[in-house]
Amino acid sequence: MPRIFAYIVHKAGVVDDSAAELVAAAKRIDPAANPTAIVAGSGPELDAVCASLSASYGEVWKIANESLAYPNAELIRQALVKVVPAGSIVLVAHDHFALDLSPGLSIKLNAAYVPDVVEIDGVAGPQLKVVRQEFGGQFSTHVRCDISTGAVINVRPGAFKPTETAPLAGTVVDKSSAIGPLTAKRRYLETVVAEAGDVDITKHAVLVSVGRGIQEKDNIPIAEELAETLGAAVSCSRPVVDAKWLPKSRQVGSSGKTVKPKVYMACGISGSFQHLAGLKGNPFIVAINKNPKAPIFQVADVGIVDDLLEFLPELTNKIREAKQVSV
């Protein structure tokens, strides 16, 4: 069985939640796995990260370098290629950093690459068997990966539940001197925080959220009218922002806002994992979609297979009528 490494991302000295999930993923590859964490960064923040990781990993490889103070995937790839032994399996959480790092890392390690893995079925001979999703989560696929020269496996955040284990007393191994000089053709400048926008969707208990099924900008008032009768706000999924029908500040998802409403009405939203990643706190989800196979119906509490352009006005009218009766 190849040696398993987990590249761990961190921010301001705090280990990402994916660290424990990558241990769980490693154990799906090999129940006896004792994966090694690799972290890169600089200064006391990196030491704090190493100390924290040594409770969940038996060995933590630390790569300290001033030029790694900000996680530049190009530099981190160069460092990893120096330290990761040939034939290893490297696990990475499938996020915006991994999209930069992992494809190129697999090339430089001459290793196979499987992105966004949601389940691992184990190893059979030279092959690792995993499950991925395609078409925005509508279909899953069994994928075989030849790991005879190693593999880089990107694991979907949240897909592997960490197991409760007694804390370890892992050792920290300093690999900083092994990486040599690093040169960047891409240089980090700054991070600009997203604008707050006119409506703060993170503060609302009820969200009427629209996706591609709203079809055109002129239909947005249909959702706004329902939201108004409910005292809710209108949020949306990525395609609606891409089409400039609503501002970015209304987007729910990994590249938008994280919301915790009590009730979430997903209208014409297919339900990609990037969208669902922004939905926390176990809300009551009502999904309205024309496509009975839309992945949103797998996570929703109740589903309505209908055209939202017909259904929402009906619902709005009924709520208005009910209010008049009660007044």
């Binding site: 090339i107 196979a112 690459y113 809710a232 009730v263 009551f284 996570v299």
Partner: protein, 263 residues
Amino acid sequence: MEILVCARRVPDTSENEIQLNSAGNDIERDDLVYSINEPDNYAVEEALQLVAKASGNVTVATVGTDDDEEILRREMAMGANQAVLLSDDAFQGSDGKGIATVLKAFVQKNKYDLILTGVQAEDGAAQVGGMLAALLDYPFASLVNSIEVLDGGKLKISREIAGGNKEFSEIDLPCVLSIQTGINEPRYVGMRGIRQVASVEIPTFDASALGVDPATVGDAGAKVKRDDYFVPALGKGAEILAGSREEIADKVIELLKTKGGLK
């Protein structure tokens, strides 16, 4: 600026309800409507805007078959100066590295300052751009949502990172960027535009023309293989409300009252 955009033809999920085939090992591909992978369309638009500001040409390439010519023509109707089809039986069954290997061979026969891809295709892999960059030893950035040309062979770019924040970097040319949707508003392509390029000849390059070793690509070279498609069974699934539209609306109102959505 000479720009190459790598594009792909994919099943159009807004035009089809995609189904599993009766054997349960693939999606049903008969009568499927295909179109350009949507993020690739943003990449072509971005390329067109960049050459309009400076100068240069936009070339669109795809690894595929004769059927894929339709998306190349569409992108030419949008304004791309030329399109090329990289096609060989040996390319069939390629994994991400196989596709990147074919594209690398084409890039090395030409000279491009900038190579763009869409952020991902229907397989959600988001891998070919990063692999191509590594094979060429070019710098790479994913999820790019703004590009500004600087003096001295550099770009200032931003990436869309968690929470919709923008991570700005400077990147040397030549480089490979994967383009996030929403970076621009792709222009409309009418039937007239498509007709105007309907008879333009699209150059095709096969493995020998590209100098690609067939053993390194296609099914033969693939380390990653998809066995089947299946419908995921996640959780209990939603309770699908039945009845007339009016009855369902009444049920939703009752549920909203119970769950705190309606006072």
